[in-house]
């Protein structure tokens, strides 16, 4: 159990472009656990993922994040990654001129510290084996990073990175969006292969479908920028069958979304005259 990581988020509040999105998120993830966060659109799920990773656009205003007792918020983005955090992004960047293989090798070497680069042969062997698991075309290694990749291919590339970098805490931000059933199965297998006591998962998803393939230990519902309800896998099933309304009623929530502009709220027009042309 010595290597079992412990990842704690306590009362996290964050703003983006002046709007407060996260309004006090608290969650604890231990090695061996798979947590799922579900919720309707606009409730702050992706913001949570970006704030954890340290995206420059998101400003944390309150709360803490610790990994094995270390203060994550004090770390720069690359330090957080080297400490063991990994975020599989919803919209991975395309970077021309940098091959997938070179990028993967740089990322792996970044973890291994100075003077401890992985040998080329070992790297190629590992990369090819994982690409085979994910049924990825071996040519992708020599293509430029994510350039010309379909949405599904980009998501698989994220999982490939996760498998090679062996992080402690993995956050999957809507990894299922844009995937067909076959790609979903392959991605889920890749994730399940990486489940261990030394690794914790935080799966952010809109649809319950993914959770049929990756069985979560804990399910949380996010609304209004906070986790409002937690339970086991059966909570996900109930949400799949009944939607989110029952949760809103139970908790007295009228508007579950955050960060809306006043104009965005739908107003019933009060005039009764026909529009003039």
């Amino acid at each position: 159990m010595a290597n079992s990581p412990k990842f704690t988020i306590d009362g996290l509040k964050a703003t983006v472009e002046g709007k407060e999105i996260l309004q006090g998120v608290s969650i604890e993830i231990k090695g061996g656990e798979v947590h799922a966060i579900m919720g309707p659109n606009g409730t702050g799920k992706s913001t949570l993922a970006s704030a954890i990773m340290g995206h420059p656009k998101y400003e944390v205003t309150e709360g803490s994040i610790t990994l094995d007792g270390e203060d994550v918020l004090e770390m720069a983005v690359d330090e957080r990654a080297r400490a063991g955090l990994f975020l599989a992004m919803q919209y991975p960047s395309e970077i021309t001129g940098v091959t997938n293989a070179d990028f993967l090798r740089s990322a792996m070497n970044a973890r291994r510290g100075e003077g401890n680069d992985i040998s080329l042969i070992k790297f190629i062997r590992q990369m090819e084996a994982r690409m085979k698991d994910l049924e990825m075309n071996p040519e992708f290694a020599h293509r430029y990073l994510n350039e010309g990749f379909s949405g599904g291919e980009k998501k698989r590339n994220e999982i490939l990175q996760m498998m090679l970098l062996e992080p402690k805490i993995v956050i999957l931000d809507e990894i299922d969006s844009g995937l067909d059933i076959d790609a979903l199965r392959i991605v889920a297998e890749g994730v399940n292969k990486m489940r261990s006591e030394e690794r914790g998962f935080l799966i952010i998803t809109h649809y319950q479908r993914l959770l049929n393939y990756i069985k979560p230990d804990f399910v949380h519902v996010m609304m209004q920028g906070r986790i409002v309800k937690s339970g086991g896998p059966e909570l996900a099933e109930r949400l799949e069958n009944e939607g989110y309304d029952w949760v809103k009623e139970e908790l007295g929530i009228v508007e579950e979304r955050v960060g809306l502009d006043p104009e965005e709220e739908f107003k019933v027009p009060m005039n009764t005259t026909a529009p003039k042309h």
């Binding site: 983005v77 690359d78 001129g97 070179d102 990175q161 970098l165």
Partner: protein, 434 residues
């Protein structure tokens, strides 16, 4: 700029030099005529940049060269020449003239000529006279006139009809004395159906004061011939690099320019392809990195005369510190050049708020049934891309390096000679670190 130009040299020095080198009379006349012209001509008018304060009078004196054994050359030079005992198909110019020339016997047997230009004047005067200063004319502006008057060193590469040369012909121009003239003339002629790859390197070291390099490259590509011309410039801060490169391409001829402009001082270059023959083709690829307070003015140009001629020019520049670059792409399609296709792309990556990069694409089209296009962009490193790389544990500096190298990769990757690719990679690294 008024015509009261003070010339860096007088007529007597020119005639004395020419006589001392035992040049044919026509060359001496050419020099003196050019000097007279220079008195009446002005500097080229560059877009948004004035070069008159670039120390344009420091031409140095043409020091005698003399042949040396490779072992006698400076260490830095030996390192640049891959450790062969007797490298073939190589010319080394040290300061004002050639010190080492070697052409493989097989190529010599086929009639290939590869010597320093001064020797070529003695051994093949007719041939040199036929082509010298025919692509770039001495009366174009003050700089071309001065070059014609004061050039020293350089080389003549002549490939006879249908001779195909596989191994690259290489040259190294090395200057380590600021009082030495360093204004070579490179003259390359590829006769019909021939093919050759030429690679050169300009390097300076230990210069204690300013020096002008006023160089001209002329390439004549006859019908159906192909020339690959690659050149890297790694001249120090003290050198003001003024270069005109021009190719004249005949029917179905192909010209490929690959240029790595990695100087540390001010530079002005103009690389032009004249697509004279029908079906002629020109492909230009340039990478450039501006650092410190350099001022750079780079022009790539394609002029279409022949029908169904095609051109493509790509320039990618990375600007750091307070460097300024004006990058011009000019595609000119003359009347009568039906079916021509001229494309160009200029991309500038800005790494610092004080740096400046202007990309000026220009299409001048005088014919209807043609295709022409351009793309120009100036931008900064995308912070989303930096974030993505950092989120994988890569440091911010390493992430920026990867993105910058990636930006230049589409050009560097196209270079057909792996040693040149490596050299450019290491020059890029060095410039990034500075």
């Amino acid at each position: 700029m008024s015509a009261q130009t003070i010339l860096p040299i007088d007529r007597d020095s020119v005639t004395r030099y020419s006589a001392g080198r035992q040049e044919p009379e026509w060359m001496t006349s050419l020099r003196t005529e050019a000097l007279e012209l220079a008195g009446t001509l002005e500097l080229p008018k560059l877009e948004k940049m004035r070069i008159d304060h670039w120390g344009l009078d420091r031409y140095g004196d043409p020091l005698p060269a003399g042949t040396r054994a490779l072992g006698e050359l400076p260490e830095a030079v030996k390192e640049l020449l891959q450790s062969e005992e007797h490298p073939e198909n190589l010319l080394v110019q040290w300061n004002s003239g050639a010190v080492y020339t070697s052409l493989s016997p097989e190529l010599a047997k086929q009639g290939v000529i590869f010597t320093d230009l001064e020797s070529a004047l003695k051994q093949h005067p007719g041939l040199v006279r036929k082509y010298f200063m025919t692509c770039v004319k001495k009366d174009e502006n003050l700089l071309t006139a001065l070059h014609a008057a004061l050039w020293s060193g350089g080389l003549f590469l002549y490939v006879p009809k249908h001779v195909v040369i596989e191994t690259p012909i290489q040259a190294l121009f090395y200057v380590d004395q600021a009082t030495a003239r360093f204004s070579p003339h490179v003259l390359i002629v590829a006769e019909a159906g021939s093919s050759v790859t030429y690679v050169d390197n300009f390097v300076s070291a230990g210069l204690e004061q300013k020096l002008v390099h006023n160089g001209i490259v002329e390439v004549i590509v006859e019908a159906g011939a192909r020339v690959n011309f690659a050149s890297t410039r790694d001249l120090g801060r003290q050198v003001t690099d003024l270069t005109y490169r021009r190719a004249r391409i005949g029917q179905d001829g192909q010209m490929y320019w690959i240029l790595g402009e990695m100087n540390s001082g001010n530079a002005m270059s103009d690389t032009t392809s004249l697509l004279v023959g029908n079906g002629s083709l020109s492909d230009t690829k340039v990478i450039c990195m501006g650092t410190g307070d350099q001022q750079l003015n780079l022009t790539t140009r394609a002029v279409h005369f022949g029908k169904a001629s095609s051109s493509d020019m790509i320039t990618r520049a990375v600007m750091q510190d307070e460097a300024t670059a004006i990058i011009n792409g000019i595609t000119k399609i003359e009347k009568g050049s039906t079916g021509a296709n001229g494309q160009q792309t200029e991309k500038v990556l800005m790494l610092s708020p004080k740096a400046r990069g202007d990309a000026n694409p220009i299409l001048l089209i005088d014919e209807d049934d043609v295709k022409a296009g351009h793309a120009a962009s100036v931008g900064q490193v995308n912070p989303e891309q930096i974030y993505y790389l950092m989120s994988r544990g890569i440091s911010r500096e390493e992430a920026a390096r990867l993105i910058i190298k990636g930006f230049l990769a589409p050009v560097v990757g196209e270079i057909p000679i792996s040693k040149l690719q490596e050299r450019l990679h290491s020059l890029v690294e060095r410039k990034l670190e500075s």
